[in-house]
Symmetry: C2
Subunit: 260 residues, 2 copies
């Protein structure tokens, strides 16, 4: 990490308008959130429809030109999945550098139960990136992205699966590269925030339970497939065991932050 | 439930194109998934930007005109949250019945670890609704929606919180009503699906672990707030305890389905 923390510049596109004090523009926070999300909601417009289309996709941020870059650096978002190439051609025909897409992730870290229904909330972390998507055609870059994305499912999984990819696999797999134009994140952390008039109401204080209920993602006991012959290897075992511990810690840390 | 299961008609907007066999159009399945999601990603277009905007919002499906309707019936989506009223006016000015929005939810139920990286996948359930959003102005309908949404955080929470709402609360709260135009869902359930040539490769079979790793959302021990005076009431206690059990069961059921 450098001497200062890089941020996406705030403009009309990425500015967090509601609860602006919760807005986050630091690349590291935004990229880390995207990279720890199992699914990314990718939205884009299609011809002759007023509705954006939103698809859940698997993706990961990285830099093919500078693989040693970390989450605090400018990165591209590589997405695995199929979006009709007709759409990409339309994007190009329109004179864009690619198809305009928005990429959203959100995590709920806890329920906030307040005295008034209107002060109920969630602890959450959400991020939104805007960019232009193109199909990755370069074979080396496609391979880089496939490894990056596979290792986001389980670290080190790529080199511990069957390699090399077959020609058929490479041809049937689409990778989208999103060049990021802008982005922001929004976090809500802390405890209950009640209005003064409710905190002075004895009847209410004596009847309504208030507090935070932590929520986190958990990995259960791995279920070997019918053709599996090997014991769970350590790279996977450690990741699965630490996963729940880390997610739980995150939700408790959020609950215990000083309320905004 | 009637004699047949209502479905959203398949058309160019909602058709599940990739892995069409995973497409689901039944109202009950789609509405249940939306109603069990803590956050909904709502996407819409804004003037002078090629990028859809996506906001994480809290919402619930219901019917103000027919409150006894269940998830298998035609419903509206009520969303709590603030979207600049300028946008809604623009939607109206364009001759629409409201602002065109897309509402997406996704749940990951498990990791699918296959022999080849290219056969890795997730068990997941995702849904996407298209519709037109308007601001709810009618006070009674707004109250109905607030109760619906509050009870989606914790069942029965509305009547167990401080009531009635103050005028200030009602005025500062925005509720969007989305009239649904179309929708679909997509589920992936089951175990590992490997290619025949990998299942015949002894070297690969003897080195690569394959199987499903269940993933589910968990609620931790509730943390009472600093002003809380009451014991956790039974309506909340039961919900919190059952939450994790149900989510775990869902992920295990998905893992144990016959692979597609």
């Amino acid at each position: 990490m450098g001497r200062y923390e890089l941020e996406y510049p705030q403009d009309a596109t990425n500015l967090v308008k509601r609860h602006g004090e919760r807005g986050i523009y630091a690349l590291e926070k935004i990229h880390s959130l995207i990279n720890s999300s199992q699914l990314i909601h990718v939205s884009f417009n299609v011809p002759n429809s007023p509705f954006p289309v939103t698809l859940p996709m698997i993706g990961q941020m990285g830099s093919f030109d500078r693989p040693s870059a970390d989450t605090s650096d400018p990165l591209d978002l590589y997405i695995h999945g199929y979006v009709s190439s007709r759409l990409f051609n339309l994007g190009r025909a329109a004179g864009e550098e690619g198809m305009p897409v928005s990429c959203a992730v959100s995590h709920v870290d806890g329920l906030i139960l307040a005295l008034s229904a209107f002060n109920h909330s969630y602890n959450y972390r959400s991020a939104l990136l805007f960019g232009h998507a193109t199909l990755v055609e370069d074979l080396e870059e496609k391979m880089y992205a496939m490894e990056l994305i596979t290792n986001s499912v389980v670290p080190d999984r790529w080199k511990n699966s069957r390699l090399p990819p077959t020609n058929a696999e490479m041809q049937s797999t689409s990778i989208l590269k999103v060049k990021i134009a802008s982005g922001s994140a929004k976090f809500r952390q802390g405890g209950v925030s009640d209005d003064k008039h409710d905190l002075e109401n004895e009847d209410v204080l004596n009847t309504v339970w208030t507090g935070v209920v932590p929520i986190y993602s958990t990995m259960g006991e791995p279920i070997p497939g019918p053709h599996n012959r090997v014991n769970l290897p350590s790279y996977a075992k450690e990741y699965f065991e630490n996963f729940t511990t880390e997610k739980k810690k995150q939700s408790l840390d959020a609950a215990n932050k000083t309320t905004e």
